[in-house]
């Protein structure tokens, strides 16, 4: 075999991943993905390996529910043919590898910087010298926005090329939020330090990222999760989805100046995140998820409280959505704005709700189930227009779906265990890939250990890593005044991308 097949969160000895010559490696992975819409690359990364670089490519198959992994060892001064020339969705992975190791991909469309990391970068470019795509014409003008934006929002720079009011091209420059997180994962050895780092990857996806981390650690530590752990993580993930989706609906109303919707959705989010505080002491669920044990037992009283909150939430949420669907002034801003076709989503490698907005079914809960999603028979919410309104409706329907799941799973609360701390010893020379479905989409963590069971590499991939390009393409031929609503309807993570 030229690749091995693993399941989500299954650890394997690192040397069982076959090593191919680079041309075969390239050909294999292209043939796995090409003309297979049910497959996509969840992670492609490199790490230092015997004075060379080992490239590892992970292709997930949504129908077979497994992940195909292959590798190739190359020299850091190598000049290689790129994957991106054939399949565009590898574009950013190769830029990242180029930035970290200096490998040159000769037919890559444009090897631009990704994050401007503090060290190890072959790029001597300064942030201010980023090579933006430009179109020379007296008819056109450029608009630069950011990195500091006109709201309480993270930094990133947007460069528009406009013809009058119309956007011809948008390029998004990120990296401002880079904190060196993947390196800190290696340098900090204590479990609690690493857990705290995982919680800080993206503060709006604490459950998604921390559970991806916890499943990964447990897999490498050979720990089987008890029912309580699986239950509480699944429950927390769905509460997080409801909270952030509702907050986004509020923000989307704000961006089209609909005050009532903005206020109502804004206040509806409050009892949901306050419930996290009642459960674990933190409104954004920091502290709730720990590898190896569940620090905050979910009691019958908490379940009753949660159901009461949802009972009060649901009618007001439905009423507000119903009202919006009758307002022509709202619909005219949402419909046919920021559209992407199915073919584009597939080409970019879009994941999560940004893929599901136009018929591309990417949902780890269904395709690579973990936690107790297997018992829920999750059917992803799919829309077919790829516009702002599709993204609005997906949020609405996913909130209602999550409420239904919560009502179902809290009927049977597993017994609580009283562990207070977990000791996890990582298996040496192993590889593991952990996927979860955060509210944005697929969150991927992966790690390789050395002979002492220490991390050689820890990789984090937020769904935003792929989806930023989707935003860039969605705004083409839209008015520049529609940019804010397009941006908010994706609501991508800056820190999750920049790490």
């Amino acid at each position: 075999m030229s690749y091995i097949t693993v399941n989500n969160q299954q650890s394997v000895p690192a040397d069982t991943i076959p090593e191919l010559g680079y041309p075969e490696f390239l050909e294999l992975n292209i043939s796995l993905v090409e003309n297979h819409p049910e497959r996509h690359c969840v992670l492609y990364f490199g790490y230092n390996y015997r004075k060379s670089i080992r490239l590892v490519c992970c292709i997930a198959d949504d129908l077979l529910h497994n992940i195909m992994i292959s590798s190739s060892v190359v020299k850091s001064d190598a000049t290689l043919n790129s994957f991106s020339a054939k399949i565009l969705s590898f574009e950013k992975f190769e830029r990242e590898i180029h930035e970290n190791f200096g490998i040159d991909f000769i037919d890559h469309p444009w090897l631009k910087p990704v994050r401007y990391p503090e060290e190890g970068s072959e790029y001597k470019l300064k942030m201010a010298e980023y090579p933006f795509f430009g179109i020379a014409s007296e008819e056109l003008h450029e608009v630069g926005v950011g990195p500091v934006h006109a709201g309480i929002i993270e930094p990133g720079h947007f460069r528009f090329v406009c013809n009058g009011e119309q956007i011809l091209h948008l390029e998004i420059q990120l990296g401002y939020q880079h904190r060196g997180l993947e390196k800190l994962m290696l340098n900090k050895k204590k479990l609690i330090e690493r857990t705290t780092l995982a919680e800080s990857i993206a503060g709006d996806s604490v459950v998604g990222h921390t559970s991806a981390f916890a499943y990964l650690m447990e897999s490498l530590g050979g720990i089987k999760q008890n029912d309580e752990i699986l239950f509480s993580r699944t429950l927390a993930q769905e509460i997080e989805r409801i909270a952030i989706h509702t907050g986004d609906l509020s923000a989307m109303c704000t961006d089209v100046a609909y005050q009532l919707g903005s206020s109502v959705f804004g206040r509806l989010r409050t009892p949901i995140i306050n419930f996290f505080q009642e459960w674990c002491g933190n409104r954004l669920s920091k502290g709730l998820i720990r590898a190896g044990y569940n620090p905050y037992p979910f009691t019958k009283e908490l379940a009753d409280r949660l159901i009461a909150i949802l009972d009060a939430f649901e009618p007001d949420f439905i009423e507000m959505n119903k009202e919006i669907s009758t307002l022509p002034s709202m619909l005219s801003r949402f419909e046919r704005t920021g559209m992407l076709k199915y073919e584009q989503l597939l080409e970019i490698g879009t994941v999560g709700m940004s893929a599901r907005m136009n018929a591309l079914e990417r949902d780890i809960r269904a395709s690579h189930p973990y936690g107790i999603y297997g018992t829920l028979n999750h059917a992803p919410v799919i829309k077919h227009h790829g516009d702002v309104f599709s993204r609005f409706q997906i949020r609405k329907e996913e909130v209602l779906q999550s409420i239904a799941y919560i009502r179902e799973i809290v009927k049977q609360i597993p017994d609580s265990n009283t562990f207070k701390k977990a000791v996890i010893t990582l298996k040496p020379e192993s590889f593991v890939l952990s996927l979860t479905e955060g509210w944005r989409g697929e969150i991927c963590h992966a790690a390789v250990t050395d002979s002492n069971g220490d991390f050689v590499i820890y990789k984090v991939k937020d769904p935003s890593f792929h989806n930023w390009l989707a935003l860039g393409l969605a705004v083409r031929n839209n008015e520049i005044s529609d940019f804010p609503i397009c941006n908010k309807s994706f609501d991508l993570s800056y820190c999750g991308h920049d790490l």
Binding site: Q177, G180, G203, G266, Q277, G281, G287, P315
Partner: protein
């Protein structure tokens, strides 16, 4: 129109009537108390992910604390987190909680710059700069303005441009790549101006402290008017801290 009125009616009253006396629901992780009980001090100091706990006497630095409650879980007789959300002060030193002493965290009135009460007491416009923030403090600062917390009742608001602002609120550990934009934003704010650090990451770097990807020189070169501890900051911690700074009763 009728529907709109119906929806409005269904919301009931959502605002918190008195933000200065509000209670937080649940087991909110606020100001800790440290008892004088004997315990394995070395293990206690070791268990903290950010080195916020020190010995002799045992103390927790809330400017470094991530409020993860690991120490409370392992040493329940020694550490107890209360629901006191008043975690703001203008003196860095006051964020350090010592064993056997349980007093609320307050501002040092003598250290509040004179012009702040007079100029900003009735209205304060702030510009927020996220410098490597993980979007949790940013979400909570946004929540300060929602219909529940309604910080605007005190004339405190976030504005879009630093040119309209009386000060900046920094979140995040200040990444190298954001150091220059932060300076530009601060320079664009007209004087007199204040600086508020919101959240553990901003105050000390938090779990990112010591990362080579940070550049925290800005904080050494400028006077900080208010520290708000939290991971993330709770809206009530932020609003009450700013209100105290402005002398709002």
């Amino acid at each position: 129109m009728l529907n709109t009125i119906k929806i409005l009616f269904h919301q009931g009253k959502q605002f918190i009537p008195d933000l200065r006396k509000a209670k937080v629901p649940g087991i909110y992780t606020g100001r800790p108390e440290i008892s004088t009980a004997k315990t394995d001090i070395k293990a206690l100091v070791e268990c903290c992910p950010t080195g916020a706990i020190s010995a002799d006497p045992v103390a927790i630095d809330l400017g470094k604390c991530t409020f993860c409650r690991e120490c409370e879980r392992l040493f329940p007789d020694k550490i107890h987190f209360t629901t006191d959300y008043r975690l703001s002060t203008n003196e860095r030193e006051r964020l350090i909680i010592r064993e056997g002493i349980s007093v609320p965290i307050t501002l040092n009135p003598d250290k509040v710059r004179k012009e702040i009460h007079a100029l900003f007491g009735g209205s304060l416009k702030l510009r927020q700069v996220s410098a490597g923030g993980d979007n949790s403090c940013e979400l909570e600062l946004n929540a300060c303005g929602n219909v529940n917390f309604d910080m605007g009742r005190y004339g405190i608001e976030f504005v879009a441009s630093p040119r309209h602002a009386d000060g900046i609120v920094i979140t995040g550990p200040i990444s190298k790549n954001m150091a220059a934009p932060l300076q530009v934003t601060y320079d664009a704010t007209p004087s007199p101006k204040i600086i508020i650090l919101a959240g553990t990451d901003a105050i000390s770097g938090g779990i990112f402290a010591g990362s080579p990807a940070l550049d925290r020189k800005f904080l050494e070169e400028n006077h900080i008017d208010l520290y708000v501890a939290g991971n993330p900051v709770h809206p009530l911690a932020f609003i009450n801290g700013v209100a105290d700074l402005l002398g709002i009763k």
